[in-house]
Structures are given as C-alpha cells and as structure tokens.
Symmetry: D2
Subunit: 354 residues, 4 copies
C-alpha cells in the first residue's frame, strides 16, 4: 500500500510522521548554553501527556457524538461502543498516572538547572486538559481560582473553552439520557407492584416503596432526619432549588440502574456509570500525583506560572470532580435482600427477546 | 533437609504452614446462612494486607536496630543494608497501593450483602498499621481525631502503641543521626572556605554563604521577608521555639546532603532521605486510595466502625505525614551553578580512600 | 454485631483471625541460628500468593458451578455474575504479576543465606496452583515434564488433582456451552440469508458464505492451501480426528461471537471469551516473570526441588496455555465491511425485547 | 523569560512545540474515507513509544559518553550520574511495558478496519529501537532472522545502524571498565590473603581460594565436571576460545562486585550491574508483551510487514538478550558465610577516606 502523503510504499517512520515528532524538542538550555541534561525529559514527558490528551479527546468526542442522538437504540451497537471507548480512556488515564513515576526520577536540583528558563510557562496552561475538563462538564464558574485561571491562559484558549462550554458536555448528555428512562410512566409496569404497608404513597409506586425501605434500614449512628432530607433533595427536589447539578430524574435513574444492574438491559448502563466514575477518580488521582510531585520538586515555593504550586493543585483536586452526584448514589443503596421486586411486565422489558 | 517442625523432608506446604494460612477464613455470612459471595474477598485482601504489614514491620525494626547504634560506621555495610531494606519497603507499599484495585471489583451492592455482619469492626483497628505509624514517628497527640482513635482500639492495643511510643522511632533516630554530621566543627575544613562579600558573617562560614546565595535567588513573587523567616526558623531556631519537630542541626544536615549528594560519602545518605520521603508519600497514597474506595463503597454514610468513613481518612491523610520537614527541604535548594564550593580538605573526607 | 467464634463484639483482628495469620511464619534460619534476614520475606510472599490462589479458587469454583447448569438463562444474572467474577480474577492475576517485583528485591546472595535450608521444597509443589490449572482444564498428560511433576508432589496432592480432573473443568464447560448455541438449526433464521455466488454450498448457509469471504481475503504471503486446511480443521473436522481439544461446534460459536459481538445477546459472551484469554495470558506472564526471577536468583543452577529451575518454567509456560484455540480465533476474522449480514429474524433474537 | 524561538513570553504550548506534536497524526483511513476510529490510537501509541525511545537514547548516549573516559574517577559524580540515569531508563521501560495495555483495548476486528492500509509498514522498522539495541551492544550478526531484518529496513537506516556498530557500545565499554579493576596485581593486597588447604594454587590467590570454595559447595544434583568446566570457561578461558562475548577479566570483576558489594567502593558498581540487567529484562518483557498482543490481534497470520508475526518476536526475545553473561554470574555465587575474607589492606582501599 502507498502512503497517501509521500506516495511511497508504507514505511513505519513515514506513516507515523516521525520526522515531525522526533524533531520537535527544543530545550532552552541548549540555546542558552546551560548544562541541563534533564530538560529533554521535561519536554518529552509533557509531549507524551499531550499526545495522550489528544487521544482521550478523540474518544470523548466520539462518545459525545453518540450521546447527542436523542434516541439511542439499545439494540444498536451504540452503548457497547461507548463503554468500550470509555474503557480505553480508563486505561489511558492509568498510564498517565503511572507516567508521573518517570518524572519522579528528576530531582529538585536537576530541575533547578533549567527551571528559570521556563518561567512563566506552566502545566496549568495545557489547553487540551482544560478543554477535556470542559467537555466532561466542568464549567468556568466551578473552577478553583477562576481568576488566576483566566489570567494564565491565552485569549484564544479562553475563547476556545468558552466555545466548548456552549456545546453539550458528557455531563449534560448523560443527565438527559438518564432522564429519558422510559418505563416509569407506563401503568402496565406498575399496576401489580407491591408497596409495603406504612410507606408514604404520595410518590410513584416504586419510590414510595424504596424510600420506605431505605429509611427503615438506617443505622442508629445516622441521623434519620438529615439522611432523609438528603435523600429527598437528591431524588425529588425541583430543578430550581437543587443544591446539585444532576437532575432529580437522572438521579433516580442512576440509582435504579445501580439497584437492578443484573437485568440485561441495564448491564451496559451500569457499566457506563462505573466507567464515568472511574475516569473522574483517575483524573483526581492524576492531580493528586502531581501535587505530590510538585511538592517534592519545589517544596512550598511558587510554581513557574506564579501559582501557589501544590496549593493550587490541591484546590483543583477537590473542586474539579465532575460526577460527584453519580458517585454519591452509593449513599442511597440498600441490601439486595430488601430490594423491591419488579413486576413480571417490567422484568420482561428489561430482558432479551428470547 | 528436614523441616524443623514436622521432622519430615521439606515440602512447600509444610514450610509455609499453609494449613494455618488457608484455614483461617471464617466468613460470618456462612455462619449466618447469608448469601454473600464477596465476603471471602474482603477477608483475604485484609489478611494479605496484614501479612505485608508484618513484613514491613520486619524491615522497619531491622532499620531501627541499625540506627540505634550511636556510631554507625560509614565503611561498614550498615548504610547499604538500610537503603536496601527501605527499597523493599517502597516496593511493598507500591504493591499495597495496587492491591486496592482488587477490592475495587467489589461493588457497593455486593458489600451491602454482609456489611452489617462486621459492625463495628473496621480497618481503623489494624493494630499493625497503627504500630507502624508509631515506629516511623507518629505520636498519639498528632493523630487526627485522637479520641475517636482511643475509643475504637482495644485496651491492649492502645497500651502496645503507648509502649512503642517510648522506644526510639525512625524519625527520632534519623534526627539524631543527621545531627551527628561530624565535619562542621573542625576548623581545617572551613579555613579556606570562601564567603561572598555582602553575606552576614555571624553564622558558620558555610551557612553565612548559603543563606546569602539563597536570599539573592528568590524570585519576585516570593516575599523575601516571609521566605527568610521560614529559612531561619527551619535551620537556626532553638529547639524550644521550633514550630516543627525536626531539629535545626538535622535540618541543616538534610539540606547539605541534598546539595552535595554527588560526593561518595553522601550518596547513601541522599538515597536514604529519598526513600524515607517515598515511603511517606506511598503511605499517603495508600490512605488516599482508601478514601476513594470507601467513598465508592458507602458514599457519605458512616463507616462500619461508626467513623465518618471517607472523612476520617481524609483528615488522617493530611495530618499523618511524618517526614514533612525532610520533604520541605526542596523549598530551600539553589541551582547547582551557584553552590558554594567545598574546600579540598572537606572534599577529600567525603570521598573514597583511593 | 457479635463475632460468631469469639462471642465478643466484632473486632478487626478477631474477624480476620490475625492470631493465626500472623503467627504462621517459621523461618528455618531462626531454628538453625543462621542469620538470614530475608527468609521472612520469602515466607510471607509465598503465603500471600497462596491466600490469593485461594481467592481465585473461590471465584473459579463459583463460575464452574454456574456453568454446570445445562441451560443457563441468558435473562438471569448468571452471565453478568460470571464476567464480573472473571474480571476480579484478572485483577488478582495482575496483582500477582506485580508482586514478583517485591521478590526481586531479594538478591542472589541474600537467597543463598538460607536456600539450602529449604531443599527440596519448591514452588513447584504449590497444590493450589496445580489444582487451579486443573480446574481451568489442564490435563496431567499435557503437563510439561509430567514425570518430574508426579515425583515432586505428595501422593495426597496427586490424588487430589486426579480427583479434580474427573470433574468438569472451565474448558469443558465452556466447550459445551458454546456448542449449545441454539439458532443454527432453526430454518427461519436462515431462509433469507444470502450466500455469495461462487461459494461452496455444501456447508450451513452461514459457513458457506463465511468460508468464501475468508478465503477471498487471504493475502499473497499466506499460502491459500495451508490456510484453508487450518480453517477446515478447526471449524469442521470430526471430533476423533481433531488436532485440537476444542470441538468444532464450539470453535464456530466462538468465531461467531467475535464477529457479531455488537448484538446485545452476544456482548456478555464476547466479554467472557476475552476475559478467559486474559487470564490465560496473565498466567503465562506470571510464569514468565518467575522464569526471569529464578534466572536472576540462581542463574543456571538447579532449583531447590532439583528441577532445571528456569528451564522447567520455560517449558511450562509454553505448554500450559489452556485456551489456545480460543486465542487462535483471531486468525480467522475478516474485516467488518465484509461481514455477512444476518437476517432480520436472527437479528431480532440477538436483541433486547423492547 | 522569552521563548528563544517565538520571542514571546514562555507559554506551555509554544515551549513544547505542540503545534508540531498535535498536528502529526495522519490516519490513512481518513484519506481513504474508511471508517476506522481506532487508527488514531494506533498512530498515537506508536508516536508515544518513539518519543520515549528518543528519551532513552538521550540517557544511553550520555552514559556511553561518561564510560568512554578510560579513567573514570570514582570520586567524581560520574558513577552516580550513570546509575541515576539508568534508573530513569528502567522507569521508562516499565512505562512502555505498561503502555501495551492501552493497545490491548483495540480488538482484532477494530484493527482489521485499517490493517490493510498499513501494509507493509511494521513496528519492526522502528529505527530508534534498532539503534538502541545496537548502542547497548547487539550486533547485526547476532540478530534473529538477520536477512529478513535487512530486507525490511530502508538503506539509510541499515547504514545508520552499521555506523553505530562501529562506535563503542555499552556492552564493550562496560567490559573494558570491568577489566580495568585495579587491585588484582598489587602484591600488597594479596600477601596476607589466606588460601584454604587443598586449593589449586596455580591461580591468583583470590581465585585459587574462590574456585575451591565454589567447587566444594556444589550440590549432588549438579555434575561437578560440567559445573567446573563452565566456571573455568567463563572466568579463565582465553579471549579467542571463549564461547561468550564478555571477557574473562570482566567476568571476574563482575563476580567480585557481586560478592563484595557491601564495600563502599563497590556499591555503585553493583547498582550499575543490577540496573543493566533490569534493562535487559524489561526489554525482553517488552518484546514478550508484544508477542502476546500480536497473537491476540492477528492470531497466526503474517504481520503487516510480512513477518511471521508473533513467531519473529519470540525469536528476537530469545536471541536479543545482550548482557546474558552478567546475568549468568548468579550461577557462580557462594553463601556469604563462606566468602574469602579480604585483607585489611584491600578492605581499606574499598572504603571511604574517613
């Protein structure tokens, strides 16, 4: 086969454009005549990060495109493709977390050899990483030290992120998709559904039942009033008054999927939710490893970008979790033995055709 | 060869006492007739943790015993043995961090199958882990939520830890060993040492010089007054007034080792300091992974021991760093090109005999 | 909650039977008064391996029990439980591979301190590991150096393995389960199935078609005759004449699952096959890491059990792959664009009820 | 600080030349209008490999330059710099081994979407990887399937490798450095050295002694004649008749370093030998992981470059070990308790000046 660009027979180095990739390292210490052997490592590890960010973007964008369809066909390959690609994103994040270990081989003294030459550039300015956070669902106003943020990035990059904020994020599309869960309002699925005596029947039959069982199972050390207030807020409050971003309908669907994940139709959705949490966790771990690495490298000094160094990262780690409400679902689970039994009609629709 | 206990020819299973090890799993769900497949995993993973804690204890105790010698001979194998064993401890901690991934395969619903059966037992009660923290240098009064701590542990375990606190910890022995650095007070090493014009000469020649160079290198964004106050506090304040536990003499030695690690005599000491920091970091990462895992498992609910679950772990992660001052040394480094040059006399004593 | 054995309130150490686990290390060097610090590591790492083997056995046995059912209901939770547990087995094997790194911290000289005391015990004698291989499907007669094998193990352990061989292994149950794939013989699914002109129509419509497309896609460098002979042998030869263990019917089903994994009904089966291959690979990697470790430890000398050391392991690594035919399926795939299109009737039955 | 190329204030994206790095992915499937989502992954993972190969080359070249000095000063920082950089190379190889897991997320069917478009390009053609093997010490004539090798690579790349073969490799420089070990021939170190009765005194006092002790320690299962023949060949045969590449003098020095690694002067050399073995092992593991990955991807079919795919890699894995003789040293160690005691004169010269 010929290479479409060179016109020659395919060759590894041409196909991978290695002339570009391997000639894109420009250590400032070389220009300045400073002896700083480790600057090459510093450049290459960050380039490797950016290559992988591009790949994560490739996968994330494809997932967004699938979810933009208002009517994903559960019998198409869509959901499997989504979970497969998110599994890949998980593997990439694991690699990026592991990659920090290579940078750990640079000692503080070795970094000081060229640190001044980089000022005020900083990893904070990684446009792809910011964009990725945005595509997952992080908003400018949620960001830790939002002003510092806007001061550091180039105008064109801030604009790029603002543009991206206008597009649907994974968070928003996931909320919509969860909220569409179709079988709540069809009477046939709930006519024969049993509600325990004592349950408050003002809610949908399922939630009347579930709320009652959950409340009964609280342990002594958990204050009932506080626990049920959280429960009601998450699953039943109006959109305007919600303390959290995820809609009540989506929260209920997410809980339902966790509870009944054994049904074939809910297996891929359960997998999807698990993968999204895993990605959120790995990004937190990535930030965490950077905190530790930066502390080791510069102690309590300012970062090259003038940030508070490790302090900034710590704040970002705490505030930049995107799918916190999905993670919080675990708070509201009950033991399998107490699970309300679904009706035969609903069970059927959650199953294979055979 | 005969086995000393069975008297029979050595056999793998006898040698490893596998009859004990593999018959020590007692799932409560079996007794109670509850169906909880995953309880076995829960038991085995914690037993594996405890086996490894025993091994870490074995290595840590041997290191403490070596350091108890007030006069470690740099020409003996002592320092190499110490660094070798700490390298092993590092590898074990890496494994224990990775081991969390196996527990991540237990879902919250699977945990709920048997969670109640364990109450109020909790990982918090791992005596070996507490003892290990103590042997490294953590004191009862530094512990996060000290009272909760004392309420949860059995009397005999609290006493065991109190006993261990009376013994020399790695922290204390390291402080003493660093403080003994011998060549500061011998005039022959410093007679020809150059001090830059402008330096405050009230200090030891080396520190007069170093303090001056460090101060000159501060960047605009770093408030000079605050920076130098920290510097002076760490390296020169009296023991009674110190805001930190590590002595001033030990802090100076630790900085010196970081700066001149190329000299043969300082190579193993540098390695030692690096390994101790790596262990501190890995223990923090271990706690961090547990925070994330506990959050995934029980959300915001109380831990089985009635603790605030993830909240407790977060507090412990922040407060239980033991070698913070050693880590902070990075704040006070300067570029190699500006390093004060040691005298020929001192250089010689830091080198091999040849 | 009370502990069922002690009758006391649950406590971490009681629940985990730590008095047994942590008092089961008996270094021979202690008895003999030999100084061999690393023997403790040697004991503990092998005990940790055995604990994990017990857990893998727990999962494997539960998978076997599910598969023993001749009529697994695809709408039950069975398949999801199986894949979930195999995912856990995968994570455990990853851990066990990583665990070798801890043993790598023992140097050959440190091993020599106590190596003689263990003779002729050897890791080869791990009964659980042998049993695990058997439960997966390895037969005595397939084992590398079968006689050496039988000489080393205790009579009771050989008998245990012989007993286990009589039970259904994962390999056999998987073969049966694959062979049962139900829709081949129902005419309604194949009446409208298109067969390309030129295809040999003596086979089932699907295979007539697939064989033709596969043959057309062979590259120049692949000898057509040899390739098609392998194809026909794997997928169509009689059981008596097969060069491989997996039945033709199972081989065809495995290929079909790989080709049409997007259909909901085939997603968990595809996952199952992938996981089984991953376990086979990880066990090979585990053996491989041991080869390297043993070579580093004893070079070309005999193992403590008198085996040829690394040589034995190399042989075992090559011969003990259990699911080779499943792995070989990749040889017979074709690009998606050329896949025969299934009929609407068959597509429906591979889908959800909705 | 200004960027030397753009003249603008340093900015992360400029400094890392991200416009080059992130615009160097040219999927053939895009040009050909083929739907092959995973080709991007295929390109990016290989580019990441090549970036890291460049970094390994950077470190390896610096190590070679240090070793070219015929007279490395043990009191300079040279040896520490070498071991530090090799530690980094070890961490990078660990990362590259882990990186294979990301490629494992590409299924055979996903690869088939674009596999034909790459023919006959192949990972085999990675010039940097070949060059790296050469710089470590692999010679063209040792390569597995040498002719296939020369057919696949471009003329300019073969020439590049032939040029590199003329330069000193790590293997050759290491051999020279080991052979220079200085104290064998100085009588003062050996005058008081004790030789056990019964030892053959024709050798240097140390080797007379060591050979005798080693021979006495052979176990029954090891044929004495064969064992001693190997011993004599490795440590005493003439260069012309040696079955192996490493010189006898270097082999003796390597053994001596392993035996007496506790002496300060031998600590870094011991570390160096360990690191070199670790790199050799990690490269073998890297090849091994590729074998498994290729088998999973294409089964038994030919590689895109027309190679026998996994078969080629297997051969390379077995033949391309570079430091086999260093690894083999473990065969000839004896227990510490039987080590010949060095004289006080020699001990002193292996120690610090203090």
């Amino acid at each position: 086969m010929k290479n479409s660009y060179t016109g020659k027979e395919q060759y590894y180095g041409d196909y991978l454009a290695l002339d570009k990739i391997l000639n894109a390292q420009f250590p400032e210490s070389d220009v300045k005549g400073v002896d700083a052997h480790d600057e090459m490592l510093f450049i290459i590890i960050h380039q490797a990060y950016e290559l992988w960010f591009k790949q994560i973007m490739h996968e994330t964008t494809s997932v967004i495109n699938i979810f933009k369809d208002d009517n994903i066909n559960d019998n198409s390959e869509a959901m499997q493709v989504v979970t497969h690609r998110l599994e890949r994103v998980v593997e990439i994040w694991k690699l990026l977390v592991a990659q920090v270990k290579v940078l750990d081989t640079m000692t503080p003294m070795d970094f000081l050899d060229f640190r001044d030459l980089l000022t005020p550039a900083s990893g904070f300015q990684s446009y792809q990483f910011r964009l990725l956070e945005t595509k997952l669902g992080l908003k400018m106003e949620q960001r830790f030290e939002q002003k510092y943020y806007q001061k550091q990035l180039r105008e064109e990059h801030i604009e790029g992120i603002e543009e991206a904020e206008k597009e649907s994020s994974v968070f928003e599309l996931l909320d919509k998709w969860l909220s569409r869960m179709p079988f709540w309002n069809e009477e046939k699925y709930w006519n024969n559904f049993e509600i325990p005596t004592g349950a408050d029947k003002n809610l949908h039959p399922f939630w009347s039942s579930y709320r009652y069982v959950y409340q009964s199972g609280l342990m002594g050390s958990e204050k009932e009033e506080i626990a049920m207030k959280s429960f009601d807020e998450l699953f039943f409050s109006d959109q305007e008054q919600r303390p959290v971003r995820l809609s009540a309908a989506a929260s209920r669907a997410a809980l339902f999927i966790n509870l009944y994940r054994e049904f074939p139709l809910l297996q891929q959705p359960y997998r999807l939710l698990s993968l999204i949490l895993e990605i959120d966790e790995l990004m937190a771990t990535f930030r965490y490893k950077h905190i530790i690495m930066v502390r080791r490298m510069i102690g309590m000094r300012s970062g090259t970008g003038g940030s508070s160094g490790a302090g900034y990262l710590q704040g970002a780690m705490e505030k930049h979790q995107i799918f916190a409400e999905i993670a919080g679902i675990a708070t509201y689970l009950i033991p399998r033995t107490k699970l309300p039994k679904l009706t035969a009609e609903l069970s059927k629709v959650l199953s294979f055709h055979i």
